[in-house]
């Protein structure tokens, strides 16, 4: 008899509301951060993570993935990001709500918690699901898929920290994921310097997504309507017993120096001369 999976898989997808990548970033007047009074959307790597979770469900029999849950830790407006995840196809969402930062224009990155804080919060949520168990209405997490980094602070550590805290395996910078539900493991292609690497990891595990993993879908109107009715659970960090007080202090944020345009030279000789002037010599 074929061994049947002991239970079906639950996927957790952490998502973050970030300044949209198309926005031209400006440092705020007090130099504590960037102007946040601009268009935000879901961090693009997280969008890839949501898409991948949905594709895994579509690829395997729909009942194999029993739940896809999106979670965000952020200010009230982060609800938009959760709605997008739900419209794409996540089943439910969790909002660990942080207070709105005092003034949006000169708020530093203080409104966005640090990777360690986020990892601890995610761990607390995952532990809680484990404790409650399937019977108690919990969704014990088998797979966490999240972005390799968030494009606002570019820290790129959350996935790794979470794996460390949980003691789970991890496959970072994924460009391809193959799930073997029966063996409870995943084969992941990773993007590494100068090529790719394939790893096999036992579930439960953490995957962080890279750009080439997939191309996220549009949210269709019926799904956007359905998303409005999907459940969103709201919590405070204290409900999970975590403290998100920053342990890092931003001293100053400044614009990079303006690039000066190139000059034109009249002849090759002049070019060679200029290169020598700037210390370039023939080998």
């Amino acid at each position: 008899m074929r061994p049947s999976p002991s239970r079906l898989l639950n996927i957790l997808v952490p998502v973050k509301r970030a300044v949209d990548y198309a926005v031209k970033i400006r440092v705020n007047s007090s130099q504590t951060g960037v102007d946040l009074n601009v268009k935000h959307s879901m961090n693009p790597f997280d969008e890839i993570a949501v898409e991948e979770a949905i594709r895994l469900r579509e690829k395997h029999s729909p009942s194999t993935i029993s739940s896809i849950q999106a979670i965000t830790i952020g200010p009230p407006k982060s609800i938009d990001t959760l709605r997008t995840a739900l419209a794409m196809g996540a089943d439910s969402a969790v909002h660990v709500e942080l207070p709105e930062s005092s003034s949006s224009s000169d708020a530093a990155s203080s409104s966005s918690p640090e990777p360690l804080g986020v990892a601890k919060t995610l761990k607390a949520w995952i532990d809680k699901q484990q404790q409650k168990g399937e019977g108690g209405g919990g969704k014990p997490v088998d797979l966490v898929i999240l972005g390799k980094q968030s494009i606002d602070d570019d820290l790129g550590q959350t996935g790794q920290m979470l794996a460390g805290l949980l003691g789970w395996g991890q496959a970072t910078y994924a460009s391809k994921i193959e799930l073997d539900v029966e063996k409870k493991e995943a084969k992941v292609m990773r993007e590494i310097d100068g090529g790719s690497e394939e790893v096999r990891v036992k579930l439960p595990m953490i995957v962080t997504t890279d750009l080439r993993l997939n191309e996220p879908r549009y949210a269709s109107l019926p799904n956007i309507m359905k998303a409005k009715k999907k459940p969103v659970e709201k919590l405070k960090p204290s409900d999970l017993g975590v403290d998100l007080t920053p342990i890092m202090e931003t001293l100053k944020v400044t614009e990079p120096p303006k690039r000066v345009g190139g000059g034109k030279v009249e002849s090759v000789d002049e070019l060679v001369e200029k290169l020598k002037e700037h210390g370039f010599t023939a080998v």
């Binding site: 949209d20 198309a22 268009k39 549009y218 269709s220 109107l221 956007i224």
Partner: protein
């Protein structure tokens, strides 16, 4: 019948050129004296540029029209333009003003060996007033670069079109380009406030005012808007830019039948009112071609299933929450109606998706040109007849045995519903006289039967001179001739274009 018409056209073009002279070596020598060396390209001596370097200037965007010009001049100032034109006037040398060369009616390339006067080197912004939004720029400024220029001041250009990366503001004004924002900001006849023009005898006409109101006699600048370079060379443009919307959204709606387009337009207009900024139509064939040629990411199979056509709706407004709420209400209303006008749709979730949805619409022009040789009819007809016009044309081609892989591959329609402007495109394997004969005057007769326009926004150029009578009365055409005669008695400015 056909040969008679062609013969008549040859005759009239011969008449236009009979009093004009080709460029000679001594003319080129003169041009090298009044312009800097990099501004003169000529296959004639003493410059002797290789022939192939002139190809891009001699060939139009569609690859349909090819001129044999020997000489391209790229002046840097209005005075240089004036000098050139004065010389050409004296020597009776014909001139084709050329902007970004993206025109779609063969107006921007020579019919024979006219001098090409390219505005590409006149690309400076002269002034911008962030309070009034009035921008004054050289005619050779590329539309996209002007858009980028005013963006930091929270303004946008009142027009936008697929060719924005290459077309020039002078070319836009000369063709009275419509484009994607016309629904919101109106035509260039309203937003252009002033022009600087070099008249066909070299005189500089300075009407570069920046006044919103100026009722002092005849509004001469209006004549140059849409004149396609037949009355003079535009060298400077003063244009009113609009405050940039603070929030934009877009959605593509999939419709089960074309019959729903007009009712949908009514509903959308009513519910979105002032934030509606575009309502664009793409039929299924056009959509499929855009996807095939990689213009923007496709919708999922499920979303396009059973769709006969698509509508792209864009909103722009001052407050995101307000706009999103309005749009959400509309979409809910559309989905939950007893008899829904739409199957489904997709709503952009971020600027990347916003661009991708637009690319599906804007990319049709490019997709069509990749697919084959296009016969393009840019016509004004009542929006309710769009599909009928496309279908009738397709049936007609089929009845002539021309609808197959070796002749006409696709007949498709897309365009600006809000403006009653249909782009009817016939994609063929090659341009052939049989297809041409099957299409014309057939298409023009359909247009005339709806009292439409044979050229809604692309102009007349070389392509449609013979079709002018389908949209303009004899009295109008006679007046146009008198105006041409008044400005350009020697007929050196873009001969053979607009008027035969």
């Amino acid at each position: 019948m056909l040969s008679r018409r062609l013969f008549a056209r040859c005759l009239s073009s011969r008449r236009v050129f009979s009093t004009l002279n080709p460029v000679t070596d001594s003319d080129v020598t003169h041009f090298t004296r009044i312009l800097s060396p990099s501004s003169v390209l000529s296959t004639l001596s003493p410059v002797s540029t290789p022939h192939d370097e002139l190809d891009i200037y001699n060939t139009d965007w569609m690859g349909k029209y090819r001129g044999k010009s020997t000489t391209v001049l790229k002046p840097k100032t209005t005075e240089e333009v004036s000098e050139i034109v004065k010389w050409c006037h004296d020597k009776r040398i014909p001139i084709v003003p050329q902007g970004g060369n993206t025109g779609l009616v063969g107006g921007s390339v020579p019919l024979k060996d006219e001098v090409i006067l390219s505005l590409a080197n006149m690309s400076n912004v002269r002034s911008f007033d962030p309070v009034s939004g009035i921008l004054v720029a050289d005619a050779g400024c590329i539309l996209q670069s002007l858009t980028d220029y005013v963006a930091p001041y929270d303004h946008i250009m009142p027009l936008d079109l697929g060719a924005k990366g290459s077309c020039q503001i002078g070319g836009n004004v000369s063709t009275n380009a419509g484009g994607l924002r016309l629904l919101r900001y109106g035509s260039l006849h309203g937003s252009v406030l002033g022009l600087e023009v070099v008249l066909p005898n070299g005189t500089i006409l300075d009407q570069l005012t920046s006044l919103r109101k100026d009722n002092t006699g005849y509004d001469l600048k209006q004549l140059f808007i849409g004149a396609e370079g037949t009355l003079g060379v535009i060298t400077g443009v003063s244009i009113l830019t609009a405050p940039a919307p603070q929030a934009s959204n877009n959605v593509i709606l999939a419709l089960p039948t074309f019959d729903n387009v007009v009712p949908l337009f009514k509903t959308v207009k009513r519910q979105l009112s002032e934030i509606l900024s575009a309502f664009e139509f793409i039929d299924r064939t056009a959509y499929n071609l855009a996807v095939k040629h990689g213009q923007g990411r496709a919708l999922s199979d499920e979303d396009v299933e059973g769709a006969e056509c698509f509508i792209l709706v864009e909103t722009s407004g001052g407050r995101r929450e307000h706009d999103e709420e309005k749009l959400a209400d509309l979409l809910e209303h559309l989905l939950e109606a007893d008899k829904p006008l739409i199957n489904t749709g997709v709503l952009a979730q971020n600027p990347a998706q916003f661009s991708s949805l637009w690319a599906l619409r804007e990319g049709v022009t490019e997709a069509v040109s990749k697919e084959g040789k296009a016969y393009k009819y840019d016509i004004s007809v009542p929006a309710a007849t769009f599909k009928q016009v496309v279908d009738t044309t397709r049936d007609h081609l089929r009845s002539k045995g021309l609808l197959n892989e070796d002749a006409v591959k696709h007949v498709l329609g897309y365009g600006h519903v809000g403006d009653g402007n249909l782009h009817l495109n016939i994609v063929a394997k090659a341009y052939t006289p049989e297809i041409q004969a099957a299409l014309e005057p057939f298409v023009y007769e359909i247009v005339a039967s709806h009292r439409g326009s044979v050229s809604a926004e692309h102009g007349i150029g070389a392509m449609k001179t013979h079709a002018l009578p389908y949209s303009k009365t004899e009295v109008s055409i006679a007046l146009m001739r008198k105006i041409k005669e008044l400005f350009d008695p020697r007929g050196i400015m873009n001969p053979g274009k607009v008027l035969e």
